[in-house]
Amino acid sequence: MNTITAVNEFVIRFANVNGTGSASANMLFAKSLFRMGIPVSPRNMFPSNIQGLPTWYDVRVSEKGYMGRRGENVDMVVAMNPQSFERDVKSLAPGGFLFYDSTKYIDTGKYRSDIQWIGVPLMEICQREYQNPRQRQLFKNIIYVGALAALLEMDFDVIKDLIASQFKAKQKLIPPNIHALELGYDYASKNFDCPLSIKVKAADLNKDKILIDGNTASAIGAVYSGATVASWYPITPSTSLVEAFEKFAERFRIDKETGEKKFAIIQAEDELSAMGMVIGASWNGARAFTATSGPGVSLMTEFLGLAYFAEIPVVLFDVQRGGPSTGMPTRTQQSDILSCAYASHGDSKQVLLFPSDPKDAFDIAADAFDYANRLQTPVIVMLDLELGMNDWISDELEWDDKREYDQGKVLNAEQLDKLERYGRYLDVDGDGITYRTYPGTHPEKGAFFTRGTSRDEYAVYSELGEDYVHNVDRLTRKFATAAELLPKPVIYKAKASAVCGVVYVGTTALVQDEMTDLLEQDGIYVDAMKIRAFPFHSDVKKFINKHQKVFVIDINRDAQLRTLLINEEDFDPAKLLSIRHYDGMPVTAVTIVEQMKSALGISDNSNAEKRA
């Protein structure tokens, strides 16, 4: 039998039952590898359920730095869930390793003979060591981590240190956890030939890196950027963003002497209300945000139109997921692009930002408040579940203490005093952005009526068609200002000159290196462009015009990014080739490369010559 041999380049899957405390043990495993300096990308696949259903946690270990999902087959499975056992056994690549609880006899031959079976009597060890059923359950998880440490030759001290820091506040839990680790470690060392032919080796590739999820990074960005009002309605996968905001705000924004909070978080009765509160707070001069997912965006849509038209800054984090309701919500997609870009009725259009990793999410979250205020319009930050809810290796977060918040064009009382007549919607600078005032600024000047109905430059109600056109044409001008103000796309040149380009947004960035390497192996060279904002920067157009064919990667069924490009920039649709992936799992480099090759008419086994 062929046995997989790999050092620092494999995928291990933990198959658990939802709600059994496995998540922290699995995290302990992944973080230990991270601390050993090895690039890892852990990924949670969980049901829309609280207890009892299968969950999977895939950890890709890749010294090459390939952090995207590799594919369906994995090299090792820790099969802790009888319910999904058969399926988990099948998911193993030939020659892979199946780690299971051998307390009860399992006729392994009945399943597969082309894999290695590694049975550890976890339950038996727990029965022997622990009295309390809850402890048995929890320590069972730690025991398998201990066993893996021996099997994969992990640095045992690193794991012990992690446990020590994890239970810093509950010191007495440290020894029993370490004991559990050792139980697993000792059993594996005595009963198997350790290490296995797949194993890890300490490296030094995570210097100045952190392991963090995108929702947490965004929340820290919001704290740093001075957000004071958060209003929200719980929905996966955005919930943890507001929860993280609360955690950090509680830590850093409570006055030590008075106990006063320099923030307000309101759990609204629904997403309409959440958005209404953000609009009210921003209208009144605070930095406010909400976070939601597709269904919430639908409910916020009327309000988004009002905010666009009434020119009120709004920061909305949309952590995208599959729609519409139960079933896909715990799976990832980028399928709100069009519903967000064109959110609302009438002549409206919204600004979108696309973070692609946690550091980027932090920066974009912080910048979003400046953009929203500068542009006086909603800014929708388009995350997805893949970024929001999984831990990623990321550059450290950075902040410049000299940075000042940009509240945009706001007039104070002295400035108003100098004005002959204040016009809320009067474009004095030619950039389409007009001056606003906060309520309560001046006893006689600067008050105006905010409304969704049409009005003239002085905010006076008007039903004249020409006033309406004048106003919405200025909003178009403001959008053109936005396009050049917002982050430019990032362009990655291929190693050789390329006639093809590939375009994507957000987390698809994760598979880019692997994708270009795979293509290069076949002698195909493509330049890549990561779009970071909508309206599109002029560089987007330049990039697409420069290439003969451009692949547009969409993590949705209907090629929404491609549609948006064609609609906004008048590209020839024939030139934009669509690559789509929408089964709810994070996209893999292989999926993209296969679709590209088939679009280019290159069969899988041919290579070289054909240069795209």
Binding site: R35, N206, K209, I210, L211, I220, V223, Y224, G226, T228, V229, S231, F248, F252, T258, E260, K261, K262, F263, A264, I265, I266, A268, E269, D270, L272, S273, G276, M277, V278, I279, G280, A281, S282, W283, N284, G285, A286, A288, F303, L306, E396, L397, W399, D401, Y405, T437, Y438, P439, G440, T441, E444, A447, F448, F449, T450, R451, G452, T453, Y461
Partner: protein, 351 residues
């Protein structure tokens, strides 16, 4: 009415308030509502109350939903910022605004369609959150702006101008408000300035959520013999529960009312509400009595008006959230940003 500019006459004899302002300083632009619309009387009630309270107009934020009633904030306090938001969602916009700046006075203007139908959810939740605001419903039992459909406050059996009698039970907003925990609940009638103005003054001074359900006949669609929200009907069936005089903090408290016929309610800021009791043993501080009274009058086909319920020691959203005394919108980088050094320790906790 046409969109002409309001004529500005200066009358030196107009009385001035403590700020040296006259009632003209509390006006807005000319109303475009139908002549005789009850809503205009509410607008003038608000102007009068703010004038008498000597509130500087620019320290008020006027927020509304959509409807004829929600248009009215343009017609009063022209030097205050106003926000005509979306249908039924005034409460959330008011909540956000208030949370951002606790120092302004918030007046929310809504209609019965805006509040009792599309906005019922936001209405009850803003009450639960005890937002410090005055919430006025100009209640005409109809959708004025969309031309006369029945609203959810229209009484069952009421005869609309056209179509069959209303077959649905109505929602009583004051009962709902009391049940949801509003701490100042009153009902009045747009045609009764003497009752309305003191109520508005007391409501504005009240800390916490103050609600006034103001019956405000729609002369165009709902002011005919068959309607229970018409001028005539309300005048005939109005059971005034208490006459009220509101004494702001600055004024000396007079004892005009004979003992035994009046009850004084002190508000958090030290001002006093003086209630002249018509119903002998009515105590507006007792929720159960208030609800009981409402039920009895409803059963008799009477519209109970006056201050129905008040909790003078109410708290508000900011108390519950423990937000800083300095309005959130005034906070700056140094108050809000934990800084680069803290960020490195955050980084360390993720490495």
């Amino acid at each position: 009415m046409s969109y002409m500019k309001k004529p500005q006459f200066y009358n030196p004899d107009l009385p001035k308030n403590e700020l040296g302002l006259t009632i003209r300083d509390y006006e807005g632009s000319l109303s475009t509502l139908c002549a005789g619309c009850g809503h205009d009387s509410i607008s003038s009630g608000i102007m009068q109350a703010c004038f008498e309270l000597s509130i500087s107009p620019h320290t008020v934020a006027k927020i509304s939903g959509i409807g004829c009633s929600s248009k009215t904030p343009t017609y009063y306090l022209g030097n205050a910022h106003g926000f005509n938001s979306v249908h039924g969602r005034m409460p959330s916009v008011a909540t956000g605004a208030n949370v951002a700046n606790r120092d302004l006075t918030y007046i929310g203007m809504s209609g019965d369609g805006d509040t009792a139908s599309i906005g019922l959810g936001q209405f009850v939740h803003v009450i639960r959150r005890q937002l410090n605001m005055l919430y006025v419903v100009a209640n005409n039992g109809t959708y004025g702006l969309t031309k006369g459909q029945n609203s959810a406050t229209l009484d069952k059996g009421s005869k609309p101008k056209k179509g069959p009698d209303n077959p649905w039970d109505s929602i009583d907003l004051v009962t709902t408000a009391i049940q949801m925990g509003a701490t100042f609940v009153a009902r009045s009638f747009s045609g009764d300035k003497q009752q309305l103005v003191p109520l508005i003054k007391a409501a504005v001074a009240h800390k916490g959520f103050a609600f006034i359900d103001c019956i405000s006949p729609c002369v165009t669609f709902n002011n005919h013999a068959g309607s229970t929200k018409s001028y005539d009907y309300v005048r005939e069936h109005n059971a005034v529960m208490n006459r009220m005089d509101f004494i702001p903090l600055q004024d000396e408290i007079t004892t005009e009312y004979a003992a035994g016929t009046s009850s004084q309610v002190s508000l958090h800021d030290g001002s006093v509400m003086h209630l002249q009791k018509l119903a002998e043993d009515y105590d507006p501080r007792d929720k159960i009595t208030a609800l009981d009274n409402l039920q009895r009058h409803n059963a008799d086909g009477k519209v109970l008006t006056g201050l129905l319920y008040v909790d003078p020691d109410a708290s508000d959203t900011h108390d519950v959230l423990a937000t800083s005394k300095t309005p959130l919108r005034e906070l700056k980088e140094k108050d809000l940003c934990p800084g680069a050094e803290v960020l490195s320790s955050i980084n360390a906790s993720f490495s």
